[in-house]
């Protein structure tokens, strides 16, 4: 085919892409309909399939252990269901924070760390450049093949200079293309509707092209799958594609490659860009989660058939397997098909290059260049000028630089490796973002220092195990590094680190880099203390759910700036047109006259910040605004951090409050106990006073009378007898008192409770009566008794109860009428549950005011017989206490001169 046809068709195709992009941007309304839907979104995700897919898959499949070509696609298929929450969360966070790249994402999460943004950008850069270079390789070689379809094309393939020319031109064209697509204006959200439309179209085209060649090979050359496969099976070397052979594929490699592709689909800068930054609605992910795997399925169906066909057609390796898709139609003279295939490959390559370079340029400008400029003060000092054009220029320069480096890499290294192996090297680099990203989303304790440590370690290992050895393999560095290890240490062999031999260099590198990356990340995070901004960001990211309201609701008070300052900033960085648009929209919605506006309130300031962030990155925007905004701005993040602190303080003070409440109650309890103790002290003192007084009295008379007796030996007998009697009775009195005090003690201490037994109260009462019968007789007291014939069971202590009965009876004796004493005793069961004992006397009775007192300690009544108090005053008190212990009661009924009736009651015992 003539070169000119190829060139023209290439240009036509590219122009078509330009056109689509241009039209979509020029007619936003119609364009939006085309672009803002889940199908376009899913198709844009297919930018994942590059020239690697187009050429490299077949190439890999046709080589030993080729089944691993599938790993690159199984990863995304497996992780697609998890997109529903992982990717959606990333999108939500990015939208709410105004993040425009993965470097921005990571930098923002870990405290808006500029240096982390730099690291991520650099890792992305060095990781993606090889990937871009293989696109160059693919396009140029396919171009070369097409233009030299004759026998000479074999030699042409090896013609280095031919390569160079083609590749260079292609690089230039692509650079222009990228600059056009990506940098016509600065959109704060970095959305490029036209670009997305173009990418979606390319995805359709490359699928179409691949299916075309696939159908051709399967049904054109052969008679369907069955035919093709059976023929292939006939050749043992070919048929190895059909299964896993232990020697060629091991589970280790298989697993690690899948892991790598899982991280790649999420974290490749171009994937992040189309999946997150360009995303219009997070719910598109729902559809994309199965549409994209479907796309992958379709584009992979014919890989193995084509590989088989190629191997069958060109055994012996005269044609590079990467090129089967072209060589086969060419061989059969299907030029047009070959052209279509070529354009398909071109499509795949350009979509990758454009998106990747745009994504990279955003990172470089926002996370590398602008911070540098700000730190060195260049930007701020420029009082004049519209910086937005400067920003664009920075972007464009970075695009050119990236492409240049990619080209150089291609020349130096690219030729020596297959597409797939270099692609996987890129994957391994990007995989270093996995620990940090997972930490960003789900682990609040991850700190900036941990992220730095992890990333740097991972990147370092990647360099050591992949970047350097690949250079050594092509002769840029000494081969000894590979064979003998770094610095001659065999444990530091790049392909066998620490002695771990691995058949697959990629898996080996992936293992070590991720292991040490994760280890450092976790280890350092756990051992470092995050700054407040990190904590706030961590909360914002991990708990994005809580904060998905409109930002302005949360923005607070102290954010004000001179309106002119804000206006200036926006002009300088977004361009006058965009800035004015933003400001007038705001003014309209808030009904403000911009001309007269002096101060920009918090809302406007935040609006400005988010737009600026889109243009120059969140960290830089914050930095710039800080210089303009008066007082310490309390942004949402800071407010959150204050809230967190406040929350802690509140918790603490609540704990304190609780403690002090407890303290208060304890103090009160102590006070009450103290009062009780004091009371007891008082009671004790009273008791002691009373008892000692009670003792002192008889002792006084004993002493006095004894002395008299001893001093007056010849006292007359009457007096002598009288005195002696008194002495005796007073001594008895003392003894009684002591006994009663002891009884009281026993009763008070409640020791008697434990010796309760079941006894017959009837019998007990009668016994007590019998024991006093003599006394009754002696004093000539008439007794009328009424005892029941049955037993009356109670549970209690016999001695104590006897004491009570005796007490009542002796009181009756003491207080009944002195001349004609009459005492009535009656005992009966009054209700099914109650025993009542009544002891009545016919004495002078007890006045009403004394009826309560007599049950108290030491209260005595005067006996009618002697006119003086009888007893110690404790008897009734003790009796009452004893009855209380037995769950009984005692009371008195009495009227003046009508005697007294004491009523004691006890609960009847039931079995």
């Amino acid at each position: 085919m003539s070169t000119s046809i190829i060139i023209i068709s290439s240009l036509v195709y590219l122009l078509l892409l330009f056109l689509i992009a241009y039209l979509v941007d020029a007619y936003p309304k119609k364009g939006k309909k085309l672009v803002d839907n889940p199908y376009t979104y899913a198709l844009s995700l297919a930018v994942y399939c590059t020239a690697w897919t187009f050429y490299g898959s077949v190439g890999k499949a046709a080589s030993p252990g080729g089944i691993t070509f599938l790993c690159t696609y199984i990863g995304p298929v497996l992780i697609a269901p998890l997109w529903i929450f992982i990717l959606k969360k990333i999108i939500r966070i990015s939208k709410s924070q105004g993040l425009t790249s993965i470097a921005d994402f990571i930098s923002s999460r870990y405290g808006k760390s500029t240096r982390l943004g730099v690291v991520v950008t650099l890792v992305s850069f060095f990781g993606i450049v090889p990937y871009i270079s293989i696109q160059l390789k693919a396009v140029s070689s396919s171009f070369g093949i097409l233009t030299n379809e004759g026998k000479e094309w074999n030699e042409a393939l090896n013609n280095a200079s031919f390569y160079d020319e083609n590749a260079f031109i292609i690089a230039v064209i692509l650079t222009i293309f990228t600059i056009f697509f990506g940098t016509r204006k600065l959109d704060p959200n970095e959305r490029h509707g036209g670009l997305v439309a173009a990418i979606a179209f390319e995805s359709i085209w490359k699928l179409f092209a691949f299916l075309a060649i696939g159908i051709f090979v399967t049904y054109g050359i052969y008679n369907g799958f069955g035919d093709l496969f059976s023929k292939a099976y006939a050749h043992p070397e070919i048929s190895s594609i059909f299964s896993f052979k232990e020697s060629e594929v091991d589970s280790w490699t298989w697993t690690w490659l899948i892991i790598l592709s899982m991280t790649a689909i999420l974290f490749l800068p171009r994937q992040f860009h189309v999946a997150v930054v360009e995303n219009k609605d997070a719910n598109y992910v729902d559809k994309a989660a199965w549409l994209f795997p479907l796309y992958l399925l379709l584009i992979n169906i014919f890989v193995v058939p084509i590989a088989c066909g190629g191997l069958l057609q060109f055994p012996g390796g005269e044609v590079e397997a990467d090129n089967f898709v072209l060589s086969l139609p060419l061989y059969y003279g299907k030029d047009i098909l070959a052209l279509i295939v070529y354009l398909g490959g071109l499509s795949a390559a350009t979509s990758m290059v454009v998106v990747a370079i745009i994504a990279l340029s955003i990172m470089i400008s926002n996370n590398l260049v602008i911070p540098l400029l700000i730190r060195t003060g260049i930007v701020q000092e420029q009082s004049s000028g519209d910086l937005s054009s400067r920003l664009i220029t920075i972007r464009r320069i970075s695009i050119i630089v990236i492409m240049l480096v990619a080209y150089i890499y291609f020349k130096a290294v690219g030729a020596g490796f297959s597409l797939v192996s270099i692609g996987l090297i890129s994957f391994a680099a990007i995989a270093q973002f996995m620990p940090v990203m997972l930490g960003a989303l789900y682990w609040k304790e991850a700190t900036e220092k941990g992220a730095m440590a992890g990333l740097l370690t991972g990147a370092f290992i990647w360099v050591v195990t992949l970047a350097i050895p690949t250079m050594a393999e092509v002769g840029l560095l000494s081969e000894n590094i590979i064979t003998e290890g770094y610095f001659g240490f065999s444990v530091l062999k790049p392909y066998a680190l620490f002695g771990m031999e691995s058949s697959d260099h990629i898996a080996h590198a992936a293992f070590w880099s991720l292991l040490l990356n994760t280890g450092m990340f976790i280890g350092v995070s756990l051992n470092t203390v995050p700054k407040q901004i990190e904590i706030t960001q961590a909360n914002l990211f991990v708990d994005i759910k809580k904060y998905t309201k409109k930002g302005s609701e949360y923005e607070l008070v102290k954010r004000e700036a001179q309106y002119r300052d804000i206006e200036n900033l926006l002009h300088r960085f977004l361009g006058k047109k965009t800035a004015q648009k933003i400001l007038t929209t705001y003014a309209k919605s808030e009904n403000i006259n911009l001309e007269k506006l002096k101060t920009a309130n918090a809302q406007l300031v935040n609006l400005a910040e988010s737009h600026l962030a889109g243009a120059i990155g969140t960290a830089s925007a914050k930095f710039l605004l800080a210089s303009v905004v008066k007082e310490d701005p309390i942004s949402l993040e800071e407010m959150l951090s204050i809230l967190d602190e406040t929350h802690e303080v509140i918790q603490y003070s609540k704990a304190l409050e609780k403690k002090s409440e407890e303290l208060l109650s304890t103090t009160q309890q102590l006070k009450a106990a103290n009062e009780q103790l004091k009371n007891f002290d008082r009671l004790k003192a009273d008791f002691i006073t009373t008892v000692t007084h009670e003792l002192r009295t008889p002792i006084t008379s004993i002493k006095a009378l004894s002395k008299i007796l001893s001093d007056n030996k010849d006292l007359d007998t009457d007096k002598r007898t009288e005195f002696l009697n008194i002495i005796v009775s007073e001594s008895e009195r003392i003894a009684r008192l002591i006994n009663q005090v002891l009884d009281l003690e026993k009763v008070q201490s409640g020791r008697t409770k434990s010796d309760f037994k079941v006894l017959d109260f009837n019998q007990l009462t009668q016994l007590a009566f019998k024991s006093l019968k003599a006394l009754f007789k002696e004093k000539n007291i008439e007794c009328i008794t009424a005892f029941p014939s049955t037993e009356l069971l109670v549970e209690g202590n016999a001695d104590r109860l006897t004491q009570v009965v005796v007490n009542l009876l002796s009181n009756a004796i003491k207080f009944c009428d002195p001349e004609e004493g009459k005492v009535k005793i009656s005992l009966q069961a009054e209700s099914p549950n109650l025993i009542v004992l009544k002891v009545s006397d016919n004495g002078a009775g007890i006045p009403l005011e004394k009826q309560q007192l007599i049950f108290e300690q030491f209260t005595q009544l005067n006996s009618q017989r002697t006119g003086k108090p009888a007893g110690s005053g404790l008897g009734l008190y003790i009796s009452q206490k004893i009855l209380k212990q037995h769950r009984g009661k005692i009371s008195v009924q009495s009227k003046k001169n009508q005697g007294a009736t004491f009523i004691a009651s006890l609960p009847l015992y039931h079995k």
Binding site: V77, L82, I84, L297, I301
Partner: protein, 69 residues
Amino acid sequence: MKEWSTLMSKNKISRLTGLFLLGLVLLNFPLVNLFGKDQFIFGIPALYIYFLFVWIGMIIATARIVRKK
């Protein structure tokens, strides 16, 4: 994790995670190794039929889980 119940039902999350894990198992050793090269179904290597079906299965399963409101 408890915040997510407002994003979507825990049910969905667990089903999707389950699908992921299932796929992980199905598309990895040792299961994948079961299909030796000499097995053919309708003239197509068994391995491919297997991959095809698991793949399609995952697509359909994801689509259905996501559709349920």
